[in-house]
């Protein structure tokens, strides 16, 4: 399946990615599984996505938790806790 990924704020800056298209095996994919796949890219990826920092995720613009299932064509985003207002 194909998904579109977005990164924001500290994640975008540290990973040096703002967006990417990713092709993945068609197995059931959750947010947690996707994080562990990305963390295997090494170093900062592991620190940013599976480390001590809190990471929030969204699928198709809706906030979700680690158990949420990702489907083909979804837009997935990772970002730190929000600090607007």
């Amino acid at each position: 399946m194909k998904i579109k990924l977005f990164y924001f704020a500290r994640l975008k800056e540290t990973l040096k990615y703002s967006t990417e298209d990713l092709e993945l095996p068609d197995d059931a994919l959750t947010i947690l599984k996707l994080k562990s796949v990305l963390a295997k890219r090494g170093d900062v990826w592991g620190q940013m996505l599976m480390g001590k920092l809190k990471v929030r995720a969204a699928i198709n613009h809706e906030l979700v938790d680690d158990k949420a299932v990702i489907n083909d064509g979804d837009e997935v985003a990772f970002f730190p806790p929000v600090t607007g207002g």
Partner: protein
């Protein structure tokens, strides 16, 4: 109901007039304006940069207004949030609520700000004498939001 994310400044008077236009059943207008402070956690702030998630941010602000509408008897609401680079004393955020009576407008306005601070995808980067750093989320903001949760 209006939601705007913009780099430009806003004029609260213009916005209130627009919301009131052609309605004579409004008895209360409550507004909140958030400003950039020059001091945060003991450091002088020279500049603030705000980032957002285009698309999701607007949807999330609209959802916050919808939630307020379902909980209080309000007529209309507006949220304007600025992004980009801001200086101390600049306006960041504006929330306006209209209703027949003040109680609903006061509560809805505070509810919307508490939800915006914890749910809407905005991120602040602060510049001070030590350089630039991302602002950390505060647990006090979560507490402020959680007091609105409805006991089942």
């Amino acid at each position: 109901m209006t939601v705007r994310v913009q780099t430009a400044d806003f004029d609260i008077g213009v916005e209130i007039n627009q919301l009131r236009q052609a309605r004579k059943d409004i008895g209360a207008v409550v507004s909140f304006v958030g400003l950039v402070r020059d001091l945060n956690d003991g450091d002088i702030v020279s500049q603030l940069t705000l980032e957002h998630y285009p698309g999701m941010t607007e949807k999330s602000l609209a959802a916050i207004i919808q939630q307020a509408k379902s909980r209080w008897n309000i007529m209309d609401a507006l949220i304007v949030h600025r992004v980009g680079t801001l200086q101390p004393s600049d306006q960041i955020v504006l929330v306006i609520v209209t209703s027949a009576h003040r109680g609903d407008a006061f509560s809805a306005c505070e509810f919307m700000m508490d939800y915006l601070k914890t749910e809407a995808p905005f991120w602040k980067k602060e510049a001070n004498s030590a350089g630039e750093h991302w602002v950390e989320a505060k647990s006090a903001d979560d507490t402020a939001r959680d007091r609105w949760s409805i006991e089942e």
